[in-house]
């Protein structure tokens, strides 16, 4: 017994070092699985407020670019207004179905909430975006995040007033995507190389693809309404498989994110429950 105490006494520093290493490593490997870690919620509040101040300062330097992208978005939305479509033919009348736009929200599928970006990284292998909107403001895990140009990522962690978004530039990101023109679906991933390019795999070779084609989120991605992910930059043909791998340019400029929209799918719960229940039956 005495020897044990002597041993502990002698190697106290080393044992302490080992203990700290074990704590650190267990935090690291648990976090990657569950995206949760000890005190993460409390820490998010502190780091979030620091990042908020910094982004408030940076905000002024990016005002011009933010304005540009908002103007572009407005232009796109104005083009969708029904008043733009006037039909000279008097025999056919456009009947505007008001039900999907009802204010009661019974039929609404997606709810959009704007959020200010308070931190954003592009330089590591696993990049996150921190937004200033959290549980108190209705943000939950697994909601989609979209900028005015295209998809940004998926919410992975929330605190009271902040949320972290796993951006498209994250090695674990997998978002179901489809070609806008022909509808073939595949999975968008990032290989960690350059923040300017994404890869879209599993597109069958029967698809007719051209450089510059638009890629949108597919109907299977329940976090997102159909929104632009990027455009095809290059087509890589792998002779050993029946699939193309496409190199995409993301529509979102991750270097100048200022405002994003958090999209909530109000029917996601229902869909998930149904799918779960179906699995149980089988």
């Amino acid at each position: 017994m005495r020897n044990i105490f002597l041993f502990i006494r002698r190697y106290l520093n080393f044992l302490f070092f080992l203990l700290l290493q074990i704590i650190a490593l267990s935090m690291l490997f648990r976090y990657n699985k569950f995206h949760e870690a000890a005190f993460m919620n409390v820490a998010k509040e502190v780091t979030g407020s620091v990042y908020d101040r910094v982004s408030n300062t940076e905000y002024y330097f990016h005002l011009k670019r933010t304005n540009d992208s908002l103007v572009n978005e407005n232009e796109r939305l104005r083009n969708l207004l029904s008043t733009n479509f006037e039909n000279p033919d008097t025999t056919s009348v456009i009947v505007k179905d008001t039900v999907p736009y009802d204010t009661l929200g019974h039929f609404r599928r997606f709810l959009w909430r704007q959020a200010k970006v308070s931190n954003n990284s592009t330089s590591t292998q696993n990049n996150f975006v921190t937004i200033h909107r959290g549980e108190n403001q209705g943000v939950r895990k697994d909601m989609g995040v979209v900028s005015s140009n295209g998809v940004v990522g998926i919410v992975v962690n929330t605190s009271a007033n902040y949320a972290t978004v796993m951006s498209l530039l994250h090695r674990n990101t997998k978002i179901s995507a489809s070609l806008k023109k022909s509808g073939e679906t595949g999975t968008v991933e990032w290989n960690g190389d350059s923040p300017l390019f994404l890869t879209l795999g599993k597109i069958p070779k029967s698809a007719k693809i051209q450089k510059g084609d638009t890629v949108i989120t597919s109907a299977y991605a329940i976090e997102f309404p159909p929104s632009v992910i990027g455009t095809v930059y290059n087509i890589v043909e792998d002779p050993s498989t029946n699939f193309y791998t496409l190199i995409l340019r993301p529509a979102t400029n991750f270097y100048s994110l200022q405002y994003v929209y958090v999209v909530e799918n109000l029917q996601a719960e229902e869909q998930k429950n149904l799918e779960e229940a179906t699995k149980k039956i089988q």
Binding site: F14, F16, L20, M40, V54, S121, T122, S123, D193, S194
Partner: protein, 177 residues
Amino acid sequence: MSNFAKNIIRFVFFILLQALLLHRIPFLHKTITPYLYYLYILWLPFSLPRGWLTFVGFIFGLTLDYFLDTPGLHAAACTLIAYVRPFLINLLIPQQGTEQSYASPSIRSMGWAPYFTLVLILTLLHHAYLVFLEWLQIGSFLYFLIKVVASTGISLLLVLLTEMLFVRKERFRTNKV
């Protein structure tokens, strides 16, 4: 200013520098991440007991981790170099009694060559461990090697610049003080 207050300010400064500036530099992507923050651990005073040094290293790394959303990654690397530092200093220190006559490791207190050997070894150790942990989850071996070497090069350059720009006034302490 007391040593304690100075080190607290340095703590905050190095964390913010790393999280807000160095980690946002674009286009050095993939193989190079400029790290400077661990210099804080090298600058901690000689008089800190070994156990406390390890603990401060852990807390320091963990704080950065919370800023960068990687809990445990930098904490593990910082704990390692904080634990190894006293052994290296014992090996490298030129003469007996430097620990008593100077407050912390620096060019003045240790001399150019021993100090930069210390910086080089700890930088390599820190980067190798950090990238190794990253590599366990992703990447190839070549990527691992290139990243360690490239990041070490950039970090050494930054340390050199910092040491030349911010000369720490290390007074020779006599018994009178």
